[in-house]
Symmetry: C2
Subunit: 207 residues, 2 copies
Amino acid sequence: MTERTRIRRLPEKSVEDVGVLHAILDAARVAHVGLVDGGTPVVVPVGCARDGDRLLLHGSTGSRLFRGLADGAEVCVTVTLLDGMVLARSAFESSMHYRCAMLFGTATEVPREEKAAALRAMSEAWLPGRWDTLRPPTAKELAATTVLALPLAEWSVKVSDGPPEDPPEDLDAPVWAGVLPIVTAYGDAVPAPDLRGDPKPWTPRFS
Amino acid sequence: MTERTRIRRLPEKSVEDVGVLHAILDAARVAHVGLVDGGTPVVVPVGCARDGDRLLLHGSTGSRLFRGLADGAEVCVTVTLLDGMVLARSAFESSMHYRCAMLFGTATEVPREEKAAALRAMSEAWLPGRWDTLRPPTAKELAATTVLALPLAEWSVKVSDGPPEDPPEDLDAPVWAGVLPIVTAYGDAVPAPDLRGDPKPWTPRFS
């Protein structure tokens, strides 16, 4: 733990289990990447996937921010999953269920010869099984894509779960109290208007 | 538009309609707030709700980051909604549907006499109708809560939607192509173990 990963606010929600960190990153497709650009904070959403003990970030070689990241800018990468609304007997005790992972460090560019494997790992994380049904990427496509890797080295995790925690004097309030879970899933698949291939929607389990 | 809100990457996805900005913020409950803390970027998830032409951010007076924000630190607040996975005929053209709003500026603390109204606005945004069923906040609760307001002044919006855009030579690939929408909703309500009030789950429409 470092000074910047020590959780000061609601420290009882801090989690140090690396398995929880992995589960949060594995459930995410987008991370919010913060960096300092000319003295100003900038936060951009970036496609992400965990690959062992690193987080892969997907971008374009044409992106100015991505070039800054590849050049060794310090980053804070935050992944937040909103799991539910906590309805207490008072507004003050009402809150949200969430799982949040925050990573600090410097990302490095995945070298050319490992790029296809890294892209495959991201595709498998997002759409398991899809990669092998597609043609391999061309050299030109690989050259136009940047994959950055951030080691899972300096991180913190905060998890809010459990029932509402009302003080005894509020328990007789005549309202319902509890948790409304927030669930995310795939809706009905929308075929491409120019679909000529397999007419059966390819829908993996949402994960 | 300022230099930092000009969208350089995929500018065709840039949207300047303030109605789209409002819709994105209205669909969000959590924003990722980036600031510079001792030279380091930090990105934290913060409960948010739009109130007219400002974004309200909810925090604790005990939070060091929130005190920094209230003291006038420059922030970048990003809200991202992930709407779907775009399955093209190649990995390279595959992508995601998203709506992303990025706000820059300096937040100010909502003054004491307006705090209850601001908290009510946030509650109404998240759980419409709930506030009036609860007891009013106490003076002590109000004092323990900070609400910050960021004007919707310097912002950019980027929207990715539409079908996969494969080059003609890929259209005959034997795979399904299209969009898998990602939908978010409330799951089954979980009553508090010590529920004594209304036994009927209070479930508003998810918005």
